[in-house]
């Protein structure tokens, strides 16, 4: 559920189109998606805060959060229960 929502949000924010639909939990994001530049990261954070109603700290802007689609979805899930 969260994986699908995270995939949709990522696809919308980075404008990935069809390519976004094929992303799985194991798909690498950092260093693999040319669209994921620093402005995209900031837009993505703002979009996650907006759509999932979570609060993201500076410490969360780390490689481990954005490593794969799965790690990003897990992060959203963890923030949502807090």
């Amino acid at each position: 559920m969260t994986l699908d929502q995270t995939r949709d949000l990522l696809t919308d924010t980075l404008n990935l189109g069809e390519a976004g639909k094929h992303l799985t939990a194991e798909s690498p994001l950092l260093g693999a998606l040319p669209e994921l530049d620093s402005m995209a990261v900031v837009s993505l954070i703002a979009a996650m805060e907006d759509r999932f109603g979570i609060v993201i700290d500076d410490d969360d802007i780390s490689a481990s959060t954005f490593e794969t689609l799965g790690s990003l979805a897990a992060f959203v899930e963890q923030k949502s229960v807090q």
Partner: protein, 295 residues
């Protein structure tokens, strides 16, 4: 579609202090019915918005609205370094451009601000020497402090992408009080950061000219974000005329690929068309009265 009949834009340098500013003037097709001064977003957002803004300017010009785009001090092809720019210099640049456009067209000038440019336009308008006819806002930054935090995060995200990332935004904010910091490829000076941080649209005077406010949303079901709705209500309660519209489109100022924002352009063009109709009807009534009087 941008009509082919749109007259070609003219570029020139406007004398300013210090140096001169690069300007792009889109003359109205026919006699100008209205005039708009474009106030661009900040830093990289300005670059990414360039294409969508140019298309919008041409669409407005074809409709009879003269549009002036100015590269503020330290940006684009204007004199100065971005890192030396001050909020005050930018407001002086706007005053010069405002006066130029009013003299050129003989129309009261409206301000079309995008993102931080909208906040700059509002702040400028609050004590501008010349009247402001209307405001057109694209996703205005409402609280400078929130925006500055996003700028700091931009730097953190850049460091994360580069494989580093040992600082947090508090440390970065402290460093930014000491000296200019590079954020997303642009030097931001301490005074500029302080000026941005101190501004809050909700604390400025409510706009005393009609506001056409557009928020880009992900899909048609979504309303404008709560802070936008709240400020629009607060302005209305203080007597301002505000039309806030949520438009499903790409946020061209942030997208990695250049976005042309066709929906945003269509909505903006339609809103201005209504304004022009009202101006036309007003002019026709005045003419009819004059005719009746002369008869």
């Amino acid at each position: 579609m941008i009509p082919a009949s749109s007259p070609r834009a003219e570029n020139f340098f406007l004398p300013a202090a210090p140096g001169q500013r690069y300007c792009l003037y889109h003359p109205a097709a026919g006699v100008p019915k209205a005039a708009l001064l474009y106030v661009a977003p900040f830093g990289e957002e300005m670059n990414r918005t360039r294409r969508a803004a140019a298309l919008q300017a041409r669409a407005l010009a074809a409709q009879g609205v003269a549009v002036l785009q100015i590269d503020l001090y330290g940006s684009g092809d204007s004199d100065g370094e971005f890192g030396d720019a001050s909020w005050q210099t930018w407001k002086q640049d706007l005053a010069l451009a405002h006066a130029w456009l009013a003299a050129k067209t003989g129309r009261a000038v409206g301000l079309w601000g995008v993102r931080l440019g909208a906040l700059l336009a509002l702040d400028y308008a609050s004590n501008a020497a010349l009247p402001v006819a209307r405001f057109v806002f694209w996703q205005p930054v409402l609280r400078g402090a929130v925006y500055l935090n996003q700028l700091l995060r931009l730097r953190l995200a850049g460091e994360m992408l580069a494989g580093g990332g040992a600082v947090d935004s508090r440390q970065l904010r402290a460093a930014l009080r000491e000296q200019a910091q590079e954020i997303g490829g642009y030097d931001v000076a301490p005074a500029m950061a302080d000026a941005i941080e101190s501004l809050d649209a909700g604390k400025l005077a409510a706009p005393d000219a009609p506001v056409h406010w557009f928020e880009v949303v992900a899909d048609a079901e979504r309303p404008a974000p709560p802070p936008a709705l709240q400020l629009a209500d607060s302005w209305r309660a203080r007597g301002a005329q505000v039309a806030l519209q949520a438009v499903p489109d790409q946020p061209c100022w942030a997208t990695p690929e250049i976005a042309e924002c066709p929906q945003l352009r269509a909505a903006t063009t339609a809103a201005i068309a209504e304004v022009l109709q009202a101006i036309g009807a007003g002019a026709a009534r005045t003419a009819a009265k004059a005719e009746a009087r002369d008869a």
